[in-house]
């Protein structure tokens, strides 16, 4: 990713990760239900990654 110079402090890997996770977990093309795949009982498509996202980015709430 290019780093435009309008980044503000504190920038760096932690906040970049927030931006990334916001996108790859909550956005992007979704596959409709009938091609859901289960791997040993794990439903990856319906997996709610939001819970994990909150855990990872919880620190975003701190100034």
């Amino acid at each position: 990713m290019t780093e435009p110079d309008v980044w503000t402090e504190p920038a760096g890997p932690a906040l970049g990760l927030v931006d990334l996770l916001d996108r790859v977990v909550e956005r992007g093309v979704v596959v409709s239900g009938d091609v859901v795949i289960a791997l040993a009982g794990i439903d990856l498509i319906r997996l709610d990654l939001r819970a994990l996202l909150v855990g990872v980015v919880g620190r975003r709430e701190a100034p």
């Binding site: 990713m1 996770l21 916001d22 956005r27 992007g28 596959v31 409709s32 091609v35």
Partner: protein, 246 residues
């Protein structure tokens, strides 16, 4: 663990006649044709993906999965010019399942790919610093110490509210100015102290103007104790869903 041997991980939708050179470090990445579009697929790291479910899982694993996913999408975008990135961890039974799914929406995806060609996604977040710059004023007091304290407190609260209102308005105006350069926008879910959280779709030809505007806006916002954070260019994660999708 029983794993379907032919299952594939979906990275992106691309135009049908995309030519995909080998991606460094990823010999598993390949194209699956689907009519007017094609899918960029790879071999899923089942062990890593399965660990997402584990409550003990290190969040760094999720971060690593996210980076690998985004890296493949960016590599494709650099040669394709237009991509629709998939959500993380989209795994289907095999290439036929992938192709069947894509063919059902191929026309819509092809239209969306054309619309997104030559544009990039940019994230704008405006946050308030913990303490805004305050205009100090000597306390004139009242007749008695108690009154003086109440008077001062009332003034402080009113001033604080004015500053908050100003910052909200200034941030909103900044968002409108930056958004004016975009052809589309999607709101983020913000957070504590987040006044603006938007993703903008901006034509490549307007990128320089976006950066110039962002620098000006950043400096203006700083006078109000506000931080502007611009990130990008991103693959168009926020603009890749079809109308009917969740």
């Amino acid at each position: 663990m029983t794993v379907p041997e032919r299952c594939v991980y979906l990275y992106a939708v691309v135009p049908a006649r995309t030519s995909l050179p080998p991606i460094e470090g990823r010999p598993d990445i390949r194209l699956v044709p689907a009519g007017d579009v094609a899918l960029v697929v790879g071999t899923p790291d089942i062990a890593a993906l399965s660990r997402i479910n584990d409550p003990e899982s290190d969040s760094r694993e999720l971060a690593e999965l996210a980076r690998r996913h985004d890296a493949v999408v960016r590599a494709v975008m650099s040669v394709s010019g237009s991509v629709l990135p998939f959500r993380l961890a989209t795994v289907v039974a095999d290439e036929d399942a992938a192709s069947d799914f894509a063919r059902r929406h191929a026309t819509e995806y092809a239209d969306l790919l054309r619309r997104l060609a030559g544009a990039g996604e940019w994230g704008v977040r405006i946050t308030a610093e913990r303490t805004a710059p305050a205009a100090g004023r000597p306390d004139r007091g009242g007749d008695r110490p108690g009154t003086a304290h109440l008077d001062r407190r009332r003034r402080e609260l009113a001033e604080s509210q004015r500053r908050a209102d100003d910052r909200t308005e200034v941030a909103a105006r900044a968002a409108r100015e930056l958004g004016g350069l975009a052809v589309d926008s999607v709101r983020g879910h913000g957070g504590v102290s987040v006044l603006v959280d938007e993703s903008y779709l901006v034509r490549d030809a307007d990128t320089d103007r976006l950066l110039d505007t962002a620098r000006r806006v950043r400096d203006r916002l700083a006078r109000y104790g506000l931080l502007l954070r611009l990130s990008g260019p991103w693959p168009p994660y926020s603009f890749s869903r079809l109308g009917g999708d969740p």
